[in-house]
């Protein structure tokens, strides 16, 4: 009997990553939208930078970018590929299930790093916003932690909903809820109670840790609590999303 050879996990992952990055590149028009929203917000908030501080403007606009990546990019690509049977074709090959998802998540994490960089570049170019080297490093780190919440939330949506059109409309609805409530609620325009709720929502905690990451000296006990709550949200969303996830729509 001939010996069956299992391909190395690194070889499998490399092949999947190459295909997923190619897919992302070919969808660059949709990707531009993910960049556009936070950049437009940053540019339009020019006056607020002087009033509320650079960290406020950067962390808010970056949070919108992270929400777009998790809820629009990741969720819709998973829903579409599941519906088309692309995952099933990959799963009958000797690719462990986790490598298929890991590749998708890695692509989204790269998007997070790119959006963060774009925000830094636009922030400097347009508003002359600069951070310390530690501030830049911590912001990349907190953006990854924050982005994970929205990826996990996206996982909940594709875990609970199978139809790709319903996934698309639900993720849009959740996205705009986050944007509107985050923007107006976070500034106290919808009352004190909503402001407090927004502060401890996934939107608020992510914004808090990113703002503190940009100015490491401003890190307080509240920021640590926000970080713990963010990690808690990620864990809960990931468990619900993974537990309910089905690889096909039947």
């Amino acid at each position: 009997m001939e010996e069956t050879i299992i391909p190395k996990t690194s070889t499998v992952l490399a092949a999947l990553l190459k295909a997923d990055f190619t897919t992302l590149w070919r969808n660059r028009r949709a990707v531009v939208m993910v960049f556009l929203v936070p950049i437009v917000i940053l540019v339009s908030w020019k006056d607020l930078v002087a009033k509320m501080g650079a960290a406020f403007a950067l962390s808010n606009s970056l949070t919108y970018g992270l929400i777009a990546i998790g809820l629009m990019g990741y969720t819709n690509s998973i829903a579409r590929d599941r519906d088309k049977g692309i995952f099933q074709r990959l799963r009958v090959a000797p690719a462990p299930n986790w490598t298929i998802m890991m590749s998708r998540i890695f692509v989204q994490l790269s998007m997070i790093a790119l959006v963060t960089t774009a925000i830094f570049v636009v922030g400097y170019d347009y508003d002359k916003i600069t951070l310390t080297p530690t501030g830049y490093a911590l912001t990349y780190l907190t953006a990854i932690v924050g982005g994970a919440v929205y990826l996990a939330l996206g996982q909940v949506i594709v875990g609970l909903i199978k139809n790709p059109e319903t996934v698309n409309s639900t993720s849009r609805l959740v996205y705009f809820t986050f944007v509107i409530v985050g923007m107006f609620g976070g500034m106290g325009m919808l009352g004190k109670q909503v402001e407090q709720m927004t502060q401890w929502s996934p939107y608020g905690t992510v914004k808090t840790i990113m703002a503190a990451g940009m100015v490491p000296g401003s890190w307080t006990m509240d920021t640590t609590n926000a970080l713990l709550v963010t990690l808690g949200y990620t864990l809960v969303f990931a468990v619900i999303g993974i537990k309910n996830f089905k690889w096909n729509t039947k």
């Binding site: 190459k18 088309k84 799963r91 009958v92 000797p94």
Partner: protein, 260 residues
């Protein structure tokens, strides 16, 4: 059957698949030998795709064993999957990827080194040398099936599973695909295919298993099945061409009513 064919590449024993309270596959057993094309036939909802999906590792089976090239599919799923090549009923690849990129993706997943020369040779072999830069969705049905088949055999697997591979193809494309499937057999590999075409089963398969209501009704060569049942009153009653065909035997064994 010669000695070369006696080696079992796929052995399915007492396989049971259940969806909730519905038993889709009930104690199905069969084996497929080296250098053999085995056809799995049955009406819609008979349990063919569920059986195939359980072998492929796409669905959990409640009991029974599936041994692929000596590897227990439950205990060593990656080894079992590496030993088989699969063409699903409705195969889809990322629509953004070009044909050459899809081939490279699956070559990577199966651990096959695919040089540009080899890639060109593969595409030439399936008469798609000009389609390397095309997206999968831009290909015709026959071309898509050829790409799917070549992907399922890119790692030279000992077992190839084809779920209704010729559905929707014109006669020319279907004949060409049959030749490709027979070429896989010539290389000493085992093939399992499901089909609704009795003509296909009779022309291509060495043995067939008829499955209905989740159970295997019979397994034999197409000719032996016709011989065995040609004088059954039910078979004669459904016969339409003055001679008994495999389709007559199939209809007689599985009933005339249309399945959902």
């Amino acid at each position: 059957m010669d000695n070369n064919q006696s080696e079992s590449i796929l052995k399915v024993s007492d396989l049971c698949v259940q969806y909730g309270i519905f038993k889709a596959v009930k104690e199905v057993s069969f084996d497929v030998r080296k250098g053999e094309i085995f056809g799995l036939l049955g009406p819609n909802g008979a349990g063919k795709t569920s059986t195939l999906s359980a072998i492929e590792g796409l669905i959990e089976y409640q009991s029974g064993t599936v041994i692929v090239d000596g590897h227990n599919a439950k205990e060593k799923p990656l080894y079992a999957r590496a030993a088989m090549g699969v063409q699903l009923q409705s195969t889809s690849f990322q629509p953004e990827l070009k044909v050459s990129e899809i081939l490279q993706l699956f070559a990577g997943i199966y651990g096959v080194k695919l040089t540009n020369e080899k890639l060109t040779a593969i595409l030439k072999d399936i008469s798609l040398e000009d389609a390397a830069g095309k997206r999968f969705g831009q290909l015709s049905g026959g071309q898509q099936q050829r790409v799917s088949l070549v992907i399922s055999t890119i790692h030279n697997p000992r077992l190839v599973l084809l779920d209704e591979p010729t559905t929707g193809l014109d006669p020319q494309s279907r004949r060409q695909l049959w030749e490709r499937i027979e070429a896989i057999r010539e290389r000493g590999h085992a093939v399992v295919l499901t089909t609704h075409s009795m003509e296909e089963a009779e022309s291509v398969c060495d043995r067939i298993g008829i499955i209905d209501h989740g159970k295997v009704i019979t397994i034999d060569t197409p000719q032996a099945l016709i011989e065995k049942h040609k004088n059954d009153p039910e078979v004669i009653a459904v016969s339409r061409k003055g001679r008994v065909t495999l389709e007559d035997v199939f209809i007689a064994l599985t009933g005339k009513e249309v399945r959902a």
